[in-house]
Symmetry: C2
Subunit: 199 residues, 2 copies
Amino acid sequence: MSANEKSKSVLYMSMSLDGFIAGPDDDADHGLGVDGECLHDWLGPWTGKSAGFDPPGASAKVFEESMATGAVVVGRRTFDLAGRWGGDHHGVPIFIPTTGTPPPPESDWVNYVTDGVESAMRQAKDAAGESNVMVHGASLAQSLLRAGVLDELEIHLVPVLLGEGRRLFEHLGADHTDLELTRVLEAPGVVHLHYRVTS
Amino acid sequence: MSANEKSKSVLYMSMSLDGFIAGPDDDADHGLGVDGECLHDWLGPWTGKSAGFDPPGASAKVFEESMATGAVVVGRRTFDLAGRWGGDHHGVPIFIPTTGTPPPPESDWVNYVTDGVESAMRQAKDAAGESNVMVHGASLAQSLLRAGVLDELEIHLVPVLLGEGRRLFEHLGADHTDLELTRVLEAPGVVHLHYRVTS
């Protein structure tokens, strides 16, 4: 394996208390689904500056940590829904596990990986060096958990019940995953829960 | 309605990070389902004393609050799975919304309510006086939310992904429920999140 041990893979996801990361019918025009935009309210308004957001209180620290990651692994569906970020997510390499023939990369940052999520994570950690790897996407997170290559979770738990939509944890199967809660940060409209995967 | 305004209805539930309040195949012998017992680890061992548990750290405060409620409203299925608590839950009146002909009450504390969840909650608040009402049961909680008669939620969020089982929030439909996070208490093996329902 020779994985980079200094780099941790961290899932960053906003989730409603009832477990949804998007409302119903999420698509390219509505990445957070119908009425799902409230999941990102804690970020504050789009600033137009380099990092894009300037969230209040303790959310600033969490957001800065996510922007300090040295690589991104993102699910193909999430990547496509997000317009492939125009080929750039905070100026670091992006790895997209992909089945079938990948499209042409949008930029030099973009790396489609066709030999599985473990390979994608290994490549991302090598690229990140001593920084962590940002994980994005619900389906990908589940694949990484099943493969045992997700190290940590930063859940931005939003005080709303969406009722319907896309769940973060849906198809994990009956095997428990034990976690350790390592940090709790309260901020306006959110509580940030940081977990380490321990099994 | 003439509801008792001094009493608040509070859902007390242990939930895994992936939203389950029991593992699969919960029944009378396994109220927490297959491998779901970890959801109650934060309570510590059964003491055999009056309150039953003596949980560590901040969990003690949360547990004492739950035991200070002046009435219980519980879903029929949960009540039956729990052996109807032998007719007694911390010495307060118990109200069980029921369809069809109710069985004979197990004790003077037990009140089967056949005219709906709003009526059950109204009766429970009247019985509780200035104390709060404990709500127990996932299906009941959803019914109370839909009826607009659940005031607060105390979620004991347990650091585990169960993967399968019974969800706390499953059939709420597309209407959002806005919440306000009013308290966060960390304790061994759990973080207690207290929410007020605001819509």
